[in-house]
């Protein structure tokens, strides 16, 4: 950096949103960085409010409330693009990534540590299937009462991209957006050095299993540790098969993917986990840098990692960044 540029200061904002610990780190003149960070947090909250299942006034709630009513809901261009994206996810995952499968949470209560009965699952299965959804932009309609859309599978990654774009458009060149481990690097540290992204250890909370240097682009991580229960020594995780309604047993405990956009990276981690019982090699054929942790906690993949740091305590639950 030339001497004419005042040494940029690091400004960080940590907050809870979208069910995760979030953090925005920006370098810049203090007032600018602070103002941009505030706008960034606002952006996260706005998207959370727009797509939350829990808010009656959200787009998701409006669509779900009209399920089976015969009345299609007209959606805005952003939601339309997200629905088109869901269609692509469904197609590219051979039907495994299905945004209508969220309704299974009614049977799968991970906190209760009790497996659902076959009966419970059987009553929910007719409500699942993206191909049943009547989606003709800009109108969407869920044909069966009780059907639900859930954007939770990728809206956090999309938000990380939006926030990074917003910061860049506001003149921030060095910084990072971390929404619960879905990370979009705005740009490297001011001296050009990469951020050190800690990858959550799948079996030890608040510990990193690896460190990945990232100067630009995005990284997303998913695993069987996010929501799960142990029943009779078997791990049942939140990855549910939309056709059977049963919990999948992924070949990997955790997968991280690096891509230009967090949304793309996150889509690959999820599809790869969903496909892993049948096609564990699928991700290695996609041409994107990735890191896998298998069920024996062996690291694999094409990403260059820092030293394995399984016992390093980290401040962030899903990923840490330095």
């Amino acid at each position: 950096m030339p001497s004419s540029n005042a040494t940029p200061q690091l400004h960080s904002a940590a907050f809870n949103a979208m069910g995760s610990r979030c953090e925005i780190q920006l370098y810049g003149p203090k007032a600018t960085a602070k103002a941009v960070a505030a706008r960034a947090v606002e952006c996260v909250r706005a998207l959370e409010a727009k797509y939350s299942r829990y808010r009656a006034d959200s787009v998701t709630a409006r669509i779900n409330a009209a399920a089976g009513s015969g009345h299609a809901i007209e959606v805005d261009p952003e939601t339309a693009a997200l629905l088109d994206y869901a269609d692509t996810l469904h197609e590219q995952s051979d039907g495994l990534f299905d945004i209508t499968s969220g309704v299974l949470r009614k049977a799968w209560d991970f906190k209760a540590e009790r497996l659902p009965t076959d009966e419970q699952i059987a009553t929910l299965l007719p409500l699942i299937g993206w191909s049943k959804v009547d989606w003709q932009a800009p109108f969407v309609h869920l044909p069966e009462a009780g059907m639900e859309l859930d954007f939770g599978g990728y809206v956090k990654e999309y938000t990380a991209d939006c926030v990074a774009d917003l910061c860049r458009a506001s003149g921030i060149e060095h910084g990072l957006v971390n929404l619960g481990g879905d990370i979009h690097v705005i740009g490297p540290h001011p001296d050009g050095s990469p951020w050190q992204v800690g990858i959550q250890h799948p079996r030890q909370p608040n510990a990193a299993i690896a460190r990945i240097p990232l100067a630009q682009g995005a990284i997303a991580t998913s695993g069987d540790y996010e929501r799960y229960m142990m029943v009779d020594g078997t791990r049942y995780c939140h990855l549910l098969h939309p056709a059977t309604g049963h919990s999948l047993h992924p070949a990997f405990a955790s997968i991280s993917v690096v891509a230009a956009r967090c949304l793309i990276a996150g889509s690959f981690t999820t599809i790869a986990l969903l496909k892993s019982p049948e096609e564990p090699q699928w991700l290695s054929e996609q041409g994107l840098p990735y890191l896998t942790t298998d069920q024996q906690l062996r690291l694999g993949g094409s990403l260059e990692t820092g030293v394995r740091a399984s016992n390093t305590p980290t401040p962030m639950p899903s990923a840490s960044v330095q």
């Binding site: 004419s4 540029n5 003149p29 692509t88 996810l89 590219q92 991209d161 793309i264 041409g287």
Partner: protein
């Protein structure tokens, strides 16, 4: 890592491109739904003519104070209206004609009286925008005691190729009415008119993550009284009215480069223009600017401009014989000259407020004794509100 992109990656990338933030156009500049107010106060001052170039009259030349106010307001979600007022106050003497000195060297004769006048210009732009194109309708009116002008313009743009390419076009026309003061006592024409019609096409291309290229081609035709009613030409010992052809065709080609440099955090602007007309004037203009970000939203912008033109075919500083075509002009604007100018500008942006201060110095060189040197100082203020 595989070099071949997977079909899943291509499909997801294509779907992600449709998302609004990702596809926010780089240079599409949609109406921002804000009211903006801009004000610029400038002082333009020409240097006096050097004693050894002056034949007769005052060496003092023009001083102009310019106030420019511009206001933009949203009309609907995708339209906006911009109005502007320019007020100029001018005083000083101006070059009248050129006479040969004792050794046959050209000497500038200046107008005797100190002229003092005012010009007011009003402009309106109405812009309508949609996701892939936009159009702007413009109107303008300018008034001086001896000159009135009405102008209309229509321009537009199409954004193609995921906003990587912008095609622009425009057409405009103006009607001028010239009624020189003191016409009888100084043998000046009265009630003259001039028409102009022009058209342009352009292309702007995103070439790399940090490079923008643009090319514009313009053509225009002028018709009517194109001479200068206040100037005369020295022909065989007498002076005659400045008299130029009643028609002119012009072509201009502008090429622009905008290159961002991440290291120093600044941008280079390079603009070149080639101009030619059927009076055989060709010109080349090159302007280079560097936009240096200084932190805290301060910006320092040094720039240099070089201009070079050839003379009109009928131009002479003075005439030793009469011309068969009857065209005479000794206006320095039609002479063979080049000019260099340098500018330094400092600007600061706050959240809603910005200001800038600029100084420019210009100096022309060539054979004409009345070539120009001027200094320009501008203070600009801007304010945006919802």
């Amino acid at each position: 890592m595989n070099d071949k992109k997977s079909s899943t990656l291509l499909a997801l990338t294509a779907a992600a491109l449709a998302l609004p933030m990702a596809s926010e156009p780089a240079k599409a500049d949609p109406p921002d739904q804000k009211f903006t107010l801009g004000f610029k106060q400038s002082n333009y001052k020409e240097a006096p003519i050097a004693a050894d170039q002056l034949g007769l009259g005052s060496p003092e030349r023009y001083t102009i104070d310019v106030s420019h106010l511009k206001f933009k307001a949203p009309v609907s979600t995708d339209t906006e209206l911009t109005t502007s007022v320019i007020r100029e106050t001018m005083s000083g003497a101006s070059p009248w004609y050129v006479a040969p000195g004792a050794d046959g060297e050209p000497l500038q004769v200046m107008s005797g009286a100190t002229i003092s006048e005012e010009r007011t210009e009003l402009g309106v732009d109405f812009r309508s925008y949609n996701s892939n194109s936009e159009v702007t309708l413009s109107g303008g009116y300018s008034s001086e005691n001896d000159y009135e002008s009405v102008s209309f313009g229509f321009s537009g743009a199409w954004r193609l190729n995921q906003n990587l390419t912008t095609l622009s076009y425009g057409a405009n026309t103006s009607f001028d009415y010239i009624d020189p003061s003191d016409a009888e006592s100084f043998d000046r024409p009265v009630h003259e008119t001039k028409k102009r019609a022009g058209a342009m096409v352009g292309i702007t291309q995103v070439a790399t993550k940090t490079t923008l290229l643009s090319a514009t081609l313009g053509f225009s035709v002028l018709d009517g009284y194109l001479s200068d009613p206040y100037k005369r030409a020295f022909v065989e010992g007498n002076t005659v009215r400045d008299s130029r052809p009643g028609q002119q065709e012009q072509i201009n080609l502008n090429l622009s480069l905008r290159q961002f440099f991440e290291g120093p955090g600044g941008a280079l602007h390079a603009d070149y223009r080639y101009y030619t007309n059927n009076w055989e004037i060709d010109s080349h203009t090159l302007e280079l600017s560097w936009y240096q970000n200084l932190g805290s939203d301060w910006q320092l912008i040094p720039s240099v401009r070089y201009y070079d033109q050839s003379a009109a075919v009928f131009y002479r500083p003075f005439y030793e014989t009469t011309r068969t075509d009857g065209f005479y002009s000794s206006d320095y604007r039609l002479s063979d000259f080049s000019a260099v100018s340098g500018q330094l500008k400092l600007s600061k942006t706050f959240t809603a407020f910005r200001f800038d201060l600029a100084y420019e110095t210009y100096s022309a060189s060539g054979d004409h004794p009345g070539l120009l040197e001027y200094d320009l100082i501008s203070l600009g203020l801007g304010y945006a509100f919802e």
